[in-house]
């Protein structure tokens, strides 16, 4: 599963730490998500997508 978190975060101009604090996880989790080393729970995927104002399938791309 790929994702566009890094791109969307850069577009909004927020840091990994800020995004982590917004969605209630550790910064390390955002780092792992961006590197594709971790598949988030449905809840976290929903929270991230909601923050970017996009549906989940536009943030997380299922291959």
């Amino acid at each position: 599963m790929d994702n566009r978190i890094r791109e969307l975060r850069a577009r909004l101009g927020i840091s990994q730490l800020e995004l982590a604090q917004i969605v209630g996880v550790r910064r390390e989790t955002i780092v792992f998500l961006e590197k594709g080393k971790y598949n988030p729970s449905l809840r976290l995927a929903h929270d991230v997508a909601k923050h970017f104002g996009l549906p989940i399938e536009e943030v997380f791309i299922f291959n």
Binding site: L17, R26, R27, T29, G36, K37, Y38, P40, S41, R43
Partner: protein, 132 residues
């Protein structure tokens, strides 16, 4: 935060036990005992590292634990358990071949389990939670 403090207390107790063993126990200073002491120090170092990492998260106003850190722990634990079964088989094999005392073998097995867990945790961290 509470878990970080607990890991510091446990680490301090283990270090105190190690110091007592080295000074007042039957410590003879041979290579095996030095190696065992070094392994204990590595495991304690790992516990301290986890505690510090949790404290730093707390200071950054992040949760000390989240879904990924719990998943890393779960994955590392399950991998370590699986590997430990073979480790104990190896210890049983060694016990037949050597004249080591039972408590030495059990101590070696338990230390081996701790080291296996540390290695699994590092592996899961390095390659992500998708492995295994």
């Amino acid at each position: 935060m509470k878990k970080a403090i607990i890991s510091f207390i446990v680490s301090a107790l283990v270090l105190a036990g190690l110091a007592l063993w080295a000074t007042k126990g039957r410590f003879s200073g041979n290579a095996g005992e030095i190696l065992m002491g070094a392994i204990v120090l590595v495991v304690v170092g790992f516990a301290v590292f986890l505690g510090v990492s949790r404290l730093r998260s707390g200071l950054r106003r992040e949760p000390c634990e989240d879904e990924m850190s719990r998943k890393v722990m779960t994955k590392a634990s399950s991998l370590a358990y699986y590997i430990s079964i073979y480790l104990w088989l190896f210890v049983m094999y060694i016990s037949d071949k050597t004249s080591l005392e039972a408590h030495s073998l059990v101590g070696t097995g338990i230390l081996g389990m701790a080291v296996t867990f540390v290695l699994c945790w590092l592996g899961v961290k390095a390659f992500g939670t998708k492995i295994g």
